[in-house]
Amino acid sequence: MKNNTKLANFYLGLILVLMYLPIIIVIIYSFNSSRISSVWGGFSLKWYEELLRDKSMFDAMANSLILASSSSILAAIIGTLAAVGMPKVNLRSKGVIEYISTLPIMIPEIILGMVFLTYFSLIRLPFGMITLVIAHTSFCIPYVYMLVKARLVGIDKSLVEAAKDLGASEIRAFFDITLPLILPAILSGMLLSFAMSLDDVVISIFVTGVNTNTLPIKIYTQLKTGVTPKINALSTLMLGATLLICLLSVWIGKLGSHHREDLKMEGN
């Protein structure tokens, strides 16, 4: 019995090391004063200073933030409307539509990128921020849709009926009852979308214009011309930001969870 737990712990440790060692190394080397990545030259913040001086980096970061916020907000709106509206649709093809709308998660990104590229050139849309936002919004929608749908299933439909019974119109009942109850799901879907959009390279490379660089594209192209520890510093910062978003999303998810337990109890 004891041997078994030892083995399990060893396995767990191995997996954790495999997963997180590279990340830890990048973080450590972002504080490396040496120019050569593989040699430790002592602790220094100079790469962070250099990063702050690089204007093109800041432009790319600004682009990424604009892109991630607008596409996550758009995805939140469209995804929520889809999840709320779908149960009211009475079509035979409903199942197919539902399946198709979650497909972008399963299609390889490289193909999605290709598809967007072909489509946008076909309709002669100039490549740039607009094409980026459209592409990112469309691959973010399924995340919001699925999270909100799951949340809606857990909400007793007699709550909306009670609101109507007490004098609320259909729309009023949605804003007073449904929306507050699904808000945690919308927000965590939005944050997830934000994170997905913020670090996307593959699709962005296909649909961006010559003058619009996002941060991941910038990093990727810089890698080709030689890795400077500046990239390590940048990666560390982005890691921090992503971690923050994830924690926020978990926290928001927890905020709503006692409602859900309560609903289940009342259902019995």
Binding site: L159, E161, L166, L181, H258, E266
Partner: protein, 367 residues
Amino acid sequence: MDDYILQLDRIEKSFGDVKVLKGLSLSVRPGEFITLLGPSGCGKTTTLRIIAGLEKPDKGKVYLEGKDVTNEEPNKRNVNTVFQNYALFPHMTVEGNISYSLRLKRLDRAKIKKAVSEALELVQLVGFEKRMPHELSGGQKQRVAIARAVVNEPKVLLLDEPLGALDLQLRRQMQTELKRLQKHLGITFVYITHDQEEALNMSDRIAVMRDGKFEQIGTPQEVYDHPKTSYVARFVGSANIIKGTAYNVNEHTVVFKNDAGIGVVAKYSGNIAHGQKVTVAVRSEHIKLNLVNYNSNVTGLKGVVKEKTFAGGLLQIIVALADGNELVASRHGIDSSLVPGDDVIVTWAPGNAVLVDLEGAHEKETI
């Protein structure tokens, strides 16, 4: 027609291929406590949802205060519902829940506050304003749901098995409280239950439902003492059903016989012909068991005592009749001198037996 606050006129409703309501008509007077009583799946909840406007009937009309509201949305009807699972808004406080309908009406704050505290006083939950629904017990949630529904001063309050989730003791207490509340507010109650005891305790009138139709509508006493059909007799107070053939009919009584012997039943109305098949309902507490001894000349149904059980202050004696049927006699108290295997003659006072399932026994479908 104006005397009624709520009228259902030949309501029909199907879900898919299943016909749930098969032509229901009901008229309710202002201030009445009417109970829809029936087993689960008989269409009670659907009827209630149609009155509330949460479902539209396929055929038939709903009138509120004489006005046709069949196609009105629920928020346009002056009717409120206490839902089976309470349906309290989990993200609002008790105060927020109760004041919801008043806030929709845009009443000013002072009025709302006053109405909420009065409603809380009514259901004895003063001081619970700031609690969230998940911090309340089942009985407290129930009271909040009632307060939320009555604060809107509806013409009719619909209650869908409101006590179903509570334990027996709390149920009894809430029954009394609900009745008191209804008297106090003077609101018409349409109450749903499958519990015949609850229906008999609380209602002014009971509508016994079966399979999407009303079997009988009447006061608790009418339904209990003069059931029109064997279904009602069995469902309300679980009466014994005895079948036989009439062979001696006079003005006040009908004597019938079957393979177990003969029985007598009082006749109130209707024509019974000689040789007609009759169905008779007799409640278990009215059944007399006469031990057969040498000089007995009692006439009745022959049987043998099969089993004795004691439950809830009642002794129940199951008798196997000579024709193969069984019936139940009940006595208060813990024991009787009869033991299983005793030969008995079953009798009852003719006035305690009721002829059921006569022609035209079902409720008529028009108002």
